[in-house]
């Protein structure tokens, strides 16, 4: 299952683990990404809490947790290759994985079709 937030994060759900990244629309808006600060493993976060930071040449942007939970893995490879966020935002450039505390959090998120419409409305 793949879901999207209004803040342009995506979460891919496999069992009770959610993998989180930012969307293609988000990376286009940010421009060239030069640094990503991923969360420490073991950190817990509420849905909507600040959990990571993306630095582009233009500005720093907070990344919010689309669902609450405990961080179980972080993509530390992004430190060496932040450009992956521009090149492959939905693949190689995932930010972190968390154990989802309450799957009910997913209900507020959009599916791919709804997110596509949402982005169209912003352009």
């Amino acid at each position: 299952m793949l879901k999207f937030s209004k803040e342009h994060e995506w979460v891919r759900v496999e069992g009770d683990i959610g993998t989180v990244g930012i969307t293609d629309y988000a990376q286009q808006q940010l421009g060239d990404v030069v640094f990503v600060e991923v969360p420490e493993i073991g950190r817990t976060v509420e849905k909507g809490g600040e959990i990571a930071v993306v630095e582009s040449v233009k500005a720093a942007s907070d990344i919010y947790a689309p669902v609450g939970g405990e961080v179980v893995e972080a993509n530390t490879a992004l430190a060496d290759s932040p450009g992956d966020v521009n090149a492959d935002p939905m693949g190689k450039a995932w930010f972190f994985k968390l154990r989802i505390a309450d799957k009910g959090d997913l209900d507020d998120l959009m599916d791919e079709a709804a997110y596509g419409e949402y982005v169209k409305g912003l352009e």
Binding site: G31, D32, V34, E55, V57, K58, A60
Partner: protein, 375 residues
């Protein structure tokens, strides 16, 4: 295509239509609708300029021509406004200097070129109308002041700029850094200086307004040349350790605090005669209370403008005035003001980013070596 209503009050340079055609992402800047980047993106544009050649539209900056009124001393009049050595300029030479106020603060920084008959000034876009009023008030009785704000101004920057421009005007090759000459580019009479604000070798090319697009298209037709927006212009000048007016320098900073002593003429340090000279001379003799320094944060966290600078004890001792990612440096860099005691190279400090201190060191500038052509 229609323009957003918010852009209606913005001015346009002669190259506006070309920017749109080239896919420039337009943003408001100093009252103008300007390209911040093109489809290549800031990172690519920056690296392209350092490796090859970039073309920038800087027509929004103000060009002003000063000519002596009969029986008046043009150079003396100009020196009453700036601390730079204008008298020492031979025809065709240019200098960087500042318009100062009575407390030694900087009203604007500018380039002054002597043509022998005239002085040509290039001032910042956001300051140009104030500068004009200031110059009129100060020396309007002695000099004719001709604003040429509609003219085009192109910056051709990077190691291949010399090859590109020489194809149209062979004289470009032998010009040295900080000199200017009238060159004909495909029949267009331009005033060209070997200068810029990127730390690279390159040129600034002043054109008649109605020829700016023609000259820009001609230069862009060379495979080495790509259009570059304001985003990369900013990261290039920061890597070069150059001040941005309104950020790194303003009316509250003196040339000495800003580390611009080199631009204050040697004789003028002794003789003064410019606004705020007493303050500037005192700071030269005794040291300025604070200094602009280069800062290299550890790791890759970027400290941007406004970030607090703290000492080992956690005491706030200054603020970052420019900060960002340096594509050629491949890492973060910043400049800001610190108290004199902490301004020495190698001093360990910290920059507060998102509430957390990031270790940083005072380092010499430029962050990336200048490659000016000095002959």
């Amino acid at each position: 295509m229609t323009d957003a209503p918010s852009s209606a009050s913005l001015q346009r340079t002669p190259l506006y239509d070309l920017h749109r055609e080239l896919g420039g992402k337009m943003v408001p800047f100093a009252g103008y609708d300007m390209p911040v980047q093109y489809p290549q993106g800031v990172l690519g544009e920056h690296l392209h300029t350092r490796a090859s050649c970039g073309l920038f539209d800087v027509s929004h900056m103000g060009q002003i021509r000063l000519t002596a009124k009969p029986g008046q001393d043009l150079v003396g009049a100009m020196e009453s406004l700036v601390p730079g050595d204008i008298r020492g300029l031979k025809p065709g030479q240019m200098r960087y200097t500042q318009l100062t106020n009575e407390t030694g603060g900087i009203l604007d920084d500018l380039m002054v070129t002597s043509t022998g008959d005239h002085l040509l000034l290039v001032v910042n876009a956001a300051c140009k109308h104030d500068d004009l009023a200031h110059i009129r008030k100060g020396i309007g009785d002695r000099v004719e002041i001709e604003p040429m704000f509609a003219r085009g101004l192109l910056a051709l920057q990077g190691p291949r700029a010399v090859d590109v421009l020489s194809r149209y005007a062979s004289q470009a090759r032998t010009m040295v850094f900080m000199t200017g000459a009238v060159l004909r580019i495909d029949g267009v009479e331009c005033y060209v200086t070997r200068s810029g604000y990127t730390g690279c070798d390159g040129y600034e090319i002043a054109t008649p307004a109605d020829s700016a697009t023609h000259v820009a298209r001609l230069l862009l037709s060379n495979e080495e040349v790509k259009p570059i927006g304001l985003g990369a212009r900013d990261s290039l000048r920061l890597e070069a350790g150059l001040c941005l007016y309104g950020h790194d320098i303003d009316t509250t900073t003196t040339p000495i605090e800003a580390g611009l002593l080199w631009s204050v003429g040697k004789e003028r340090r002794a003789q003064g005669g410019f606004p705020g000279a007493a303050v500037v001379q005192k700071q030269i003799a005794e040291g300025a209370p604070r200094r602009r320094v280069g800062l290299k944060p550890e790791g890759r966290t970027i400290a941007r403008e406004g970030a607090e600078i703290v000492d080992g004890a956690g005491k706030v001792i200054g603020k970052v005035t420019s900060g960002g990612f340096g594509p050629s440096l491949n890492g973060p860099m910043a400049m800001g003001y610190v108290e004199r005691a902490q301004a020495a190279n190698g001093t360990k400090l910290a920059l507060v980013v998102r509430g957390k201190p990031v270790a940083a060191e005072v380092v010499p500038m430029p962050f990336v070596k200048h490659t000016y052509f000095r002959g």
